[in-house]
Each structure stands twice: as C-alpha cells, then as structure tokens.
C-alpha cells in the first residue's frame, strides 16, 4: 500500500542548531505512526515541517505521490494534511459549534459568499454536529470555548483537525495535560477512527503510544535512532540507553 505522506531525509536548521536531521518516515492510511523521544528531540519541529508551518532546510515531503516541499500550512491543509497543536490553538471567544463551523466550512467552497447567513447552509452544521458527536462534545455546542475545562478544550482542538476531513492527521501531543479518563476517551476515539486516516502521533504518554502505534520512530537530538514495530523498538538497546541516559522528562 502506498504511503499517503512520506518524509525523505528532512532536515531543519535554525541558525546553527539542527533541530531535525535527515529524518525519513512514512505513513499509510489506517496506520498510526508514533514519534517519541525526550523533550527537545525535534518531534514538534518535525510536525511543523510536515504541516507546512516550517520550511525544511533539506529533504522533501510527498503527499499522495506529489512532492509538496515548501508548501505553506494553507495549501497543506487543502491537500488533506490536518493537524492539532501541542498548545491549544482554537477560537476561545467563539462557541464550540462556531469553532467547528469554521473548520467544516473550509471544505465547502462557500466561504466567499457574503450575503446568505451561515445557517442557510445546513451542510455546515451537519458536519459540525458529526464531528462534535465523534469527540463527545456535542452537549457543549453552545458553550464558549474559553469557558471549557482544559480537557474539553483539547477535544475541540482535535475536533478542528478532524472537521477538515484530512487524509493525514498530525497529532502533536493530543493528550497533553489531560486526565486519565479523558486520555482513555481520546485513545478509544483514535482506535475507532484510525482506519480512515494516516496518523502521525507525537505523544509522551507511553501507555497510549503502545496501545495505538503500529510503528514507532524514536528521535534523539534531531535524529532518528530507531524505527520499527513497537515491540522491536521497546527492546532496542539504543532506545533504552537514550531514555535511561537522558532520563524521561514526563
């Protein structure tokens, strides 16, 4: 099966510091590829490269067989690469429903219409309701996002990514700051919807990673030190050394 998204020898240098160095990985539909490593390993930079928010210094990115290196976040989103952020990045002063509406509307080709009210386009609300139900936040529709609990805001964060109906889902620490119960809810959700997406998951919660991942890539100081099936990686001497040597921060 062909990879939906593929990174080839990606490198990102920030004036002297090499944050990501020659990283290659790929992901197919229905697969969850987890990227782990200690803080500062370059995981978030990798996500930012794949989502178009940073431009790689070297290497290339291929989505659906098309080279898309250097494309910005807007184009990447339209090509079907959706993402969530490590630090919640939603519309705090809007309601949950309005948050989702903006995301759903981005796929409907109605956004340049000035005169009909938004609610005269029922597809928008139908799409929002569907994604809110998936994340079990449908009862919160009319609550202002800034008034939600942290865990609920994290769910809205993921809802925005899902609402753009992506082929590739880049999840940057989706469980960050969530309680155990909320975390297991998200893990369940990801298991449920995994068949529809190629998921690249950056996460510190190892229980979640081993419950979800089909493939694991371990990064350290910007480089890939191990990549493969979870149990192979788990028994890898280099990985154990990296984690025990550097210490796991979370």
């Amino acid at each position: 099966m062909r990879a939906v998204i593929e990174a080839v020898a990606l490198t990102k240098k920030f004036s002297g510091l090499t944050a990501v160095s020659g990283v290659s990985l790929s992901c197919q539909r229905g697969m969850i590829h987890a990227v782990i490593g200690p803080n500062g390993a370059g995981k978030s930079t990798l996500i930012n490269l794949l989502s178009g928010e940073l431009r790689p210094t070297e290497g290339k990115i291929v989505v659906d067989g098309m080279t898309v290196t250097g494309f910005g976040p807007t184009k990447m989103s339209l090509l079907g690469v959706g993402r969530s952020y490590q630090r919640t990045n939603i519309y705090p002063s809007l309601s949950v429903l309005e948050n989702c509406n903006i995301a759903v509307q981005s796929r409907l080709d109605i956004s340049m219409r000035f005169l009909g009210a938004l609610n005269s386009y029922p597809d928008v609300e139908v799409g929002s309701k569907r994604v809110m139900e998936r994340l079990q936040i449908d009862t919160l529709g009319h609550k202002k996002a800034s008034e939600l609990s942290h865990g609920e805001q994290r769910q809205v964060e993921i809802a925005l990514a899902l609402a753009t109906e992506p082929k590739v889902l880049l999840l940057d620490e989706p469980l960050a700051g969530m309680g155990a119960e909320e975390s297991s809810k998200i893990v369940e959700l990801l298991l449920e919807i995994r068949s529809d997406f190629a998921v690249i998951l950056v996460e510190h919660d190892m229980d979640a990673v081993f419950a979800l991942a089909d493939k694991l890539t371990v990064m350290l100081n910007g480089e890939v030190i191990e990549s493969g099936k979870p149990d192979v990686v788990r028994s890898s001497y280099r990985v154990q050394e990296a984690y025990l040597g550097e210490g796991i921060d979370e």
Partner: protein
C-alpha cells in the same frame, strides 16, 4: 419590558429619524445628515478594525478620494447623473482599495497601521502638491448630481430635507449589508481571522485573500460616504483624505464599541454631538471632548455599546 424595548428600539430610532425633518430646523437637519453619512464611513472602518482585526489609519483615503472622483467627473456647469457618478466613485475607490490593500496586507500589527498611515498621507500630498485636482484648495462641485427616476420623480440634492432622506436610506442599506456580511460564511472567516489567524490559515483558508476582499468592500462602503460628503458640501479638499479624518473615525469606532453593528452608530453620534455641543460653549472644546473620551474609556472599556441593553457580537 426590557425585551420589548430591545425589540422596538431600532424601530423607534428609525421612526424618530424619519419624522425629524418635519420638526427640526435647517441647521439641525444638515447636521443630522452629516452624522448619518459619517456613520457609513465609521461602519466601513469597523468592518476592518472591529470585525477583522485590521487597525487602519488610512481609511480616509477612500472617503476623500471618492469625493474627488465626483468632483473630477462633474462638468463645470451641468449636473452629473447621480447613479453613474456614485457607481464610478465606488468602482474607482474599490480599485484603489485593491491596490492599497494588496500592499498593506503584507504587513501585520503595528506595521500594518504604519503602512496604512503612509499610503493615506501619500495620497494627501499627491492631491495637495499637484495641480491635478485643485491642489491645496481642492475642487468645487458647482452643480450637484441629478437624481431622478426616469424623469417622473426627482430629488433635489441641494434641498437639505431631500438630501437627509437620501442619506438616511443609504445608512440603513449599508448597515443591513454589513449585518448580512458578518453573519455570512465570509463574515465567519473574518471572525476567525480576527480571533486566531494562525489557526485559520492552518484550516486551509488563504487569509490574505479574505482580508483583501474585506479591505476592498470596506473601501467601497467608505466611498459611498465620501461621495455623500462631497455632494453635501459641494467641495472637496485634501484634508478629506488626511490622517485626521482617519483618526477621528477610528476614535468613533472605539468610543462606540468595535466589532458591533451598533457601535459605530453610537460612537459617531455621541462624538459629533459632544463636539458640536462643546463648540457652542467654549473655544477650548477639544479639551472637554478629550475628557469625555477618557471617561468613556475608563467606565466603558468596550465602548458605549456596553452602556445599554443592545449588545451582540457574532
């Protein structure tokens, strides 16, 4: 009771405005027209500042230039057709808005403010220092445009009552259009840009394009207002495009409450009434006006809309 009042409030205001020329004297009708046409301008600026989060200090460029288009089109001793002249002004200013917008929207934050200010001042000095449009004296519009519907009904724009009703109709039309825009799919994207442009980009919106379209719409609405101002006074001068006019309008947006439909209406009316009132009492009126603005800023940080029951932000 409150709910009924809230519902009836816009209707009551409108009724008062419709009946006003029957009782008001000539000076006050003229002054009311001035406020109404200013509301159009301030509302157009609010579309940028309040609804999209783009603080412009050069919006008067579109207001003043629209008047210049009318002055330049008007033959020296006969009347221009009102609709053709208005359409020409709106389209010309829209083109200018597209050029200005394409440039300034490449910047953000404080740099956006500075570049709008710079372009506005460039236009000011262009009109002031060249003789293409009367230089620093500006231009007169000797004969006001002719507004008739197929010769069976004609408005006399030199008649203050006729002019007042024309402006009133246009204010209502503009406010309705802006209301439509902010609740439309396009308007929701503008809200997204105002609140979190980063995420809006990541959701697949080309935010530059949306901001540019909004900028052009705002400039075209400002053109309606500048056109009316030129018709009312029969004269245009470079001051109309200067930053003073932009700054004054920005003050009205903030005083009234940015990002609300009603804010510009309240802000414009309040500031112009206060200024006029103080001018009658003292020549130090600006000092007093400043005091009022400080008080409003202190007690109603969200503007005058915070003062009353009508408060809605989409």
């Amino acid at each position: 009771m409150g709910a009924i009042l809230r519902k009836a409030f816009p209707g009551l205001i409108l009724l008062t405005l419709v009946l006003f020329p029957l009782v008001g004297d000539r000076f006050y009708i003229q002054f009311a027209s001035k406020i109404l046409l200013m509301i159009i301008f301030v509302s157009s600026l609010n579309l940028l500042v309040g609804f999209t989060g783009l603080v412009s200090l050069g919006h008067a460029a579109f207001f003043g230039f629209s008047g210049y288009v009318l002055a330049l089109l008007s033959p020296p001793d006969s009347a221009m057709n009102f609709f053709i002249a208005l359409l020409a002004s709106i389209l010309t200013v829209g083109a200018l808005g597209a050029i200005f917008g394409a440039l300034v929207l490449r910047t953000k934050g404080i740099f956006f403010i500075m570049s709008t200010l710079a372009l506005g001042e460039m236009l000011f000095y262009f009109l002031h220092d060249t003789n293409l449009a009367g230089g620093s004296d500006g231009m007169y519009i000797n004969t006001r445009p002719n507004l008739s519907f197929f010769d069976w009904w004609q408005l006399d724009l030199a008649n203050v009552v006729h002019f007042y009703y024309l402006v009133l109709i246009l204010v209502c039309a503009v406010l309705l259009v802006i209301r439509k825009i902010i609740y439309s799919p396009f308007g929701r994207v503008l809200a997204g840009i105002r609140i979190n442009e980063h995420r809006t980009k990541a959701l697949g919106y080309n935010t530059y394009k949306f901001k540019l379209v909004c900028f052009v719409i705002a400039s075209m609405i400002a053109a309606i207002s500048g056109f009316l101002a030129a018709v009312q006074f029969g004269v245009v001068n470079p001051e109309m495009v200067g930053w003073h006019v932009s700054g004054h309008a920005l003050m009205m947006v903030i005083l009234g409450g940015k990002g609300t439909l009603l804010g510009p209406v309240l802000g414009t009316t309040a500031l112009m009434l206060v200024e006029e009132g103080f001018q009658m009492v003292t020549k130090h009126w600006q000092l007093l006006t400043g005091g009022v603005i400080v008080l409003v800023a202190l007690f109603f940080p969200n503007g005058l809309v915070g003062l009353k029951f009508l408060k809605k932000r989409p």
